[in-house]
Each structure stands twice: as structure tokens, then as C-alpha cells.
Amino acid sequence: MKKRVLAAFLSMAMVAGLATGCGTPGGGKSDGDSADGKVFRYAVNTLPTTLDPTKGQSIGDNEIQHAVTEGLTRNTAGDVKPGIAESWDESEDGLTYTFHLRKDAKWSDGEPITAADFEYSWKRLVNPETASPYAFIGDCLKNGQAIEQGKMDVEELGVKAVDDTTLEVTLEHPTSYFLSLIGSSGQFAPLRQDIVEKYGTDFAATSEKNVYSGPFVMTSSEDNVWTFAKNDNYWDKDSINLDKCELNYVENTDTQLSMYEAGDLDYVQVPTAYVSDYKDKADVFANGNVDFCYINSKSDNPVLGNKNFRLALNYALNRNDYNKLANADTYTAFNGLVFPGLQAKGTTYGEAYDLNSYSYPLDGDQDKATEYLNAAMQELGIANASDITVEVVTTDADSSKRIVETLQEQWQNALGINVKIRQVTYADIYGKVFPEHDYEIGYGGWGSDYDDPYSYLELFKSDSSYNYSQYENPEVDQLLIASQDEPDTDKRMDELNQAEQDILADGAFVPLQARNVYYMLDDDTTGINFYYCSLNIDWVYADVNAK
């Protein structure tokens, strides 16, 4: 008896001893700063969801693809250069592109990259059987949407490999941002049919289950660290300075900051709570996300269907004060819908159009707000403002709660109405609350996947599946439809801007802020680019000075 107990404890101790004695599971790996040459190390706080270019659905997914794949073009922070395509011809109606691929373009395993690799990839993207969450990005291709909805055969897609180096692409509408889109969205990267079919559902599950067309190859995807090495078969490898890159998944942003302070990272995003502490050291970029409140214009609450009431909500808000209270001034108070950094008319959208001339003043306007409120109450036959109650729905994230509470206070004080708050989960708000229009006012936001105002304005197109507001304005619809077939890009931009003006004049939603990201970068690192659609950080051309 005694012996048995002793034996049991001894064996337990041995197991424990063994485990403590031998190395950790990740033992023996380099920290990234050894003699690896030029290495760039950074961290993200959300896990990439997939390494399959077609199925990418987050900024993080796409940032990886931007480094390991090469599209027909390469879009570096809005600057579009030839990629696998050496040159291209565009038809006069803007509907057909003929891409001429370079003959020396190779996959990381040495095979040539051909036009067929693009045709295969794009068809895989819109094929319903692939079930890519980002299939809609292929809507710009001829018949893309119909195929994605199962109404047409995938062979009808507007892409055709004429020969090994010629790819003919037909578009649904003239798409002025097409070259920019295919240079920044991994979903348009070439794919090797033999590799995809060889691995089946395991394709790109890990770094070695794929081949790469981009400036870097992925050398490891294990243990929440993704490592990249310069691709020797890349056609433009002389422009690449880094030897390696190491992407760490560090969920805790405080830990990221500590790692940066300890010299374990070369780049870190400053968590919002610490921005004021680091304002001197940190730089900032705008990531293209704008936040606003949707207004369900057809909700059971009749006040929200009233234009004057919606305008009262907009004029009552002092967005500068709001931004200080809700966001500690880390974002930019914003009174529009289209992200002002987008390219338009040879400059930015914000430069081309003076938002303040047609939108609500950032400091609000109490008199106008009262005026609109009184008009609304008269139309609706309501005697007291205190008889009006609206409900704002938000996710349970702390930052969102703070934002909605600030709105509640401002609206109650300025208008004398009652504002209630309802909290739901993120999955609920986009799975049910918004799509099923089960809300009155809802806090949300949008970031674009391509450099064009249409992406933001589409939220208010009456037949769009993103029209959570149930907004209907025939003039806006007409402008948006006209913009799709307008070959004159400047005229098209004016049409889109007019649509934005109309939406704002209707008080269709409550704009709040444009997001900023504060970051710190090691002094020895240069050549990092930032972008505002489909990816944020672009380290492809980064360089690190030897220490």
C-alpha cells in the first residue's frame, strides 16, 4: 500500500520533471534579431482568419497576402504600378482590359506565372461552391454577382486567358478604381490550380501548403508567429530590402507596447488608452474607417421617419465635444460619409469637395436643432419633446458604450428628448439587428475595400444589401446608377458627391468620426507605407538599418 502511493507520486513527479526539464514547445526558435540580416518585426492583435487569398476577409488577412502575392498591378498606398502585368490596354468604354503579363514572372517554386492562374483564381473567388466571404469583391467583373448568387455558370465570368501572357478582363461597369483594386486586394492574386487541388480543403492551412507569387514567401505560420523571407523568384526582387519579416500575434495591446519598449518589436500601434502618454513619440495615420449612427427610417418609431427630426439629431450634436468625451480626441470629428482621404480628381476627396459647406457644423447648431425639432413635432403632432423616446443600439464593446452614452447625454440635453440604450453582441448586431432592421438608431461604421466613394455611398442605395437604414431616395439611386456607367471620371466623382450631399441633406444618418491609428516605429526602420482600404500597414518596401 505504502509502496503504491509512493510509486504514484514518484511517477507524477517524473512526468513533471521531464516536462520541466526538456525544452518548451517553441524552444530553439530565434527571437528574430539574430544574424538573420534585415528583419522587420511587428505585431497584430487579431488573428488572421485564413492564409487562402480567395477567402481572406479581414485587414489582417489581406496585409499578409499583400506581401506574399503579386496581382496584375501593385498598389502601394494608392500608387499603382505594374505587377505581374507588364502593361495593359483599356478599351474606350472602360469595360475591357487586356493585360500583358511579364514572361519572367515566376512562382516561388520556379514555375511560370501565367494568365490561366488569374483566370482560375478569379473564377474560384465568385464560385458559390468556394463560399468565399469576400466573393462580392468580384462583383465588378462581368457576371460576377450573378455567378455568386448561383444564377449563372462560373464559366460566364468576364475573365479569359487568351494565351500564357495575355489576360482579357471584361467588367460589369466601367470601374475607374479597377487597377487600384486588383493591386491591393489579395482576392485577385493568381492561384495555382494544381496546388489548390492537391491540398483540397487543407490548401493554405499552413505556410508550406501553398506557393507564392509575391515579394516574400511565408516560411512559417505556426505558434502565432508568421515569418516571411525574401522571394528569390520574385520578378522585382531588387526593389526588396528586407531579408525577413516576423509578424507576431499578441492579443494584449499592453503587452505589444511592453514588447516595443523592450526592443522586441519595431512597430507597434499605441492602444487608445495610452495615446495621450505617447503623443510626442507617436505618429498617426487615418485607416479609412468612418463611424456613424444608422437611422432606421422605417422603424416602428415614427419620429425617425421624419426628416426634420433626423436633422435635429444631427444639428444638436457638437461633434468636437463629443470626440473629446467619447474618444479622448484620438479620432477626428467628422460630419460626412465618404472618407476624405480617398483619391478624387487628382487630389483627395476631402480637398476636392468642401464638406463644411454642405454638411452640419462640427460644433453643432443649437438654434437650428431646436428649429428642426419644433418643425418635426408640429408635423407629428407631438406637444412635448419629453414625449419622444428613441433607442440607440450598440455592441457591448467598452469603446462603443462610451460613444453611445455621450450621444445620449448630448441629445437629451440639447433636445430634451429621452434616449435609451440597448446593448447586443457584435455577432447579433450584424447577424440580426441591422439586416432585419430590428432597431431605431444603431452605432456602426464602414471601411472601404477599394479607393472609391461608391463603397460608402452604397450603404444608402435602396436595393443594396447593406442598406440597413431602409433609406429610399430616388435621386440618390439615380445618381449612383448613373455613376456606374459614367466614363468621365471627374463627372462621375461629381455625381457621387451630389449623392453624398443629398444623403446628408436628408439627415439619413448621424456621422461621428473618422478613425486614426497612432503608432510608433523604430528609428532604424524606413519605407513603411500606410493605406486606407483593404490593408493598413504595407511593409513590402521596408528597410532596416544595420545596428
Binding site: A19, T20, T24, T49, Q57, A135, D254, S258
Partner: protein, 306 residues
């Protein structure tokens, strides 16, 4: 003894089956589904649902899941495309287990020693010191303990790496932070059960036989006092080995802990089930081992069952 073990094993299997069934149907009651994001259109979401077989009747999905489970197959994650739950567990469990074992060894060995010292010096300064350590351990949550250790030993004094898990030096801070709570509870339980044993007849007998204090403590007191500690070790081992969300997050350890929390937020059904079943299996297994060891160590348990 054999009959006792068989009965325990059957009870464990039934527990697991009930767990799978309840969780399988409960997750479907959560609002939303795995395919909800701002950008997803209805058509694309429908394509994704049929890709994962959600268009089939729920009861059919349940039996498919059970059949796969019997082959040890947890299915594909719905959030992390092209990755199986088995692969993710296979990748993350070794880290969580490694960290957990280190923390356990630390917690149990130091906890036992502290408990024994406290009991032997009851009411004296040493006892008081042990109480303070126990209070610190139980009252400071692990995320604060982790952050404190990280700040002083990692950033300020630079003695250990701030985060990640690449070798022995990396393991010390997270294992210490994780060990503290268990250490405190082990030491308290050991102390009180030591004191309880002290008043037992066989200790009086040993003392009256004229045995030395050393022999009494080691041969009679500790051996009998350790039983209650074994009882809490079952669930503790299961909990600590299968990953801890907070410590793994603070120290950027690629363990399983994250998936318990994120899979629920993301409605990743396959992952929620996989995590629950894996943890449930571990918990049941650890309790089973404790039960059996109890039977081995204490004859009264076996006889009582007959």
C-alpha cells in the same frame, strides 16, 4: 477495485455524451451565427452556410457531429478557414500544457511546503508569514500579478523576456503568475488538514510510542493530510493544463486559452464544441485519476463502495 474503476469510467463516458449534446444544441440558441460581419451579403452568407452543412436538419447535423467525434474529428473551424479544430488544438495544447505543468509543479511543491511549515509553527511568526503569502495569492487576480511581474522583471530590471514562449527563460514569469493562486490554496488546505490530523488518535499513539517529531510529521501526518489536496488537484490540473486566457494573453503565449473566449464571441460552433469537449474530457479524466488514486491511497473508499 476493478469494479470500482469500471463504474467510474462508465460514469465519465455518460458525462461526456451529455456535455456534447447540451453544448451542441445550446450554441445554436446564441444570437447570430458564425457568418455575420458588416460586409457579408445574404447570398454569400447562404453559400457559406451550405458549405458548412448548416442547411441540413439540425438533428442530422448532430448525428454527423457525433459520428465524427467518435473518430476523434472535431471538424473545421468556421472562423479560421481551412483549419481543423484538431489542428488548432494540436498546435496550442502543448504550450498550455507546458506552462500548466510548470505552474503546477511550482504551486504544489511550494504550497505543500508552506502548508506544512505553517501547521508546524501554528500561531507563530512563520505561520503568519505563510498566511500573508496565501492572502496575496488568492486576492490578487492573475492578470494583475502577470502585469506586475512583467513590468518589474521584464521591462524595469530586464531579467526575463517580456513576452512570448521560446525557451526556459520565457517560462518563468508566466508560470509564476499562474502558480500563485493554486499555491495559495494548496498551502491553506495543507495547513488545515495537517492540523486536523494532529489531533487524530494515531498521532497520539505515535507520540506515546516515543517516535521523533520528524518521523511523526513525515511518516504519519503528511501522508494522511495530503488526501484533501489530491481532491482539489483533479479540477485544478484540468483547468491549468488546458490553458488560461489571461496569462496567455498577457505573455503572448500561443496556447489554447484564447479560443475558449474568442470562439464564443465569434459563434465558431465547431471551435466552441471542440474546446468544450476537449476540456470536458480532460476534466473527467483528471477526476477519474483522482478517484482511482483515492481508492488506491485510502482503502476505506474502496470498501465503502462494496
Amino acid at each position: 477495485m476493478f469494479k470500482y474503476v469500471v463504474k467510474r469510467v462508465i460514469a465519465a463516458i455518460i458525462t461526456l455524451w451529455a456535455l456534447v449534446t447540451i453544448v451542441f444544441f445550446l450554441v445554436r440558441l446564441m444570437p447570430g451565427d458564425p457568418f455575420t460581419s458588416a460586409k457579408l451579403t445574404k447570398e454569400v452568407a447562404a453559400n457559406m452556410r451550405s458549405y458548412y452543412g448548416f442547411d441540413k436538419p439540425l438533428i442530422q447535423q448532430y448525428f454527423t457531429y457525433l459520428a465524427n467525434l467518435l473518430h476523434g474529428n472535431f471538424g473545421y473551424s468556421m472562423k479560421y478557414t481551412n483549419k481543423t479544430v484538431n489542428y488548432i488544438i494540436g498546435q496550442t495544447f502543448p504550450y498550455s500544457a507546458d506552462l500548466g505543468i510548470r505552474a503546477l509543479v511550482m504551486a504544489v511543491s511550494f504550497g505543500l511546503v508552506l502548508g506544512i511549515i505553517a501547521a508546524r509553527n501554528r500561531g507563530k511568526k512563520l505561520d503568519f508569514f505563510c498566511v500573508i503569502i496565501a492572502i496575496i495569492g488568492t486576492s490578487i487576480p492573475d492578470f494583475i500579478m502577470g502585469a506586475i511581474l512583467q513590468y518589474f522583471f521584464g521591462i524595469k530590471w530586464g531579467l526575463f523576456p517580456v513576452a512570448k514562449y521560446l525557451g526556459f527563460r520565457y517560462t518563468i514569469l508566466p508560470a509564476t503568475a499562474l502558480a500563485f493562486y493554486t499555491l495559495a490554496s494548496v498551502s491553506r488546505i495543507m495547513r488545515s488538514s495537517m492540523l486536523e490530523v494532529t489531533s487524530q488518535d494515531y498521532i497520539k499513539t505515535a507520540r506515546s510510542k516515543g517516535l521523533s517529531e520528524f518521523r511523526i510529521t513525515f511518516k504519519h501526518q503528511i501522508r494522511n493530510a495530503i488526501m484533501p489536496v489530491m481532491t482539489i488537484l483533479g479540477p485544478t490540473v484540468a483547468a491549468v493544463l488546458t490553458g488560461t486566457f489571461v496569462i496567455e494573453s498577457i505573455f503572448a503565449i500561443p496556447g489554447m486559452g484564447k479560443y475558449y473566449v474568442s470562439s464564443v464571441n465569434e459563434n465558431d460552433y465547431a471551435m466552441i464544441l471542440g474546446m468544450t469537449v476537449f476540456y470536458g474530457f480532460f476534466l473527467v479524466l483528471c477526476n477519474l485519476i483522482v478517484d482511482i488514486m483515492y481508492g488506491v491511497a485510502d482503502p476505506r473508499v474502496r470498501i465503502g463502495k462494496r
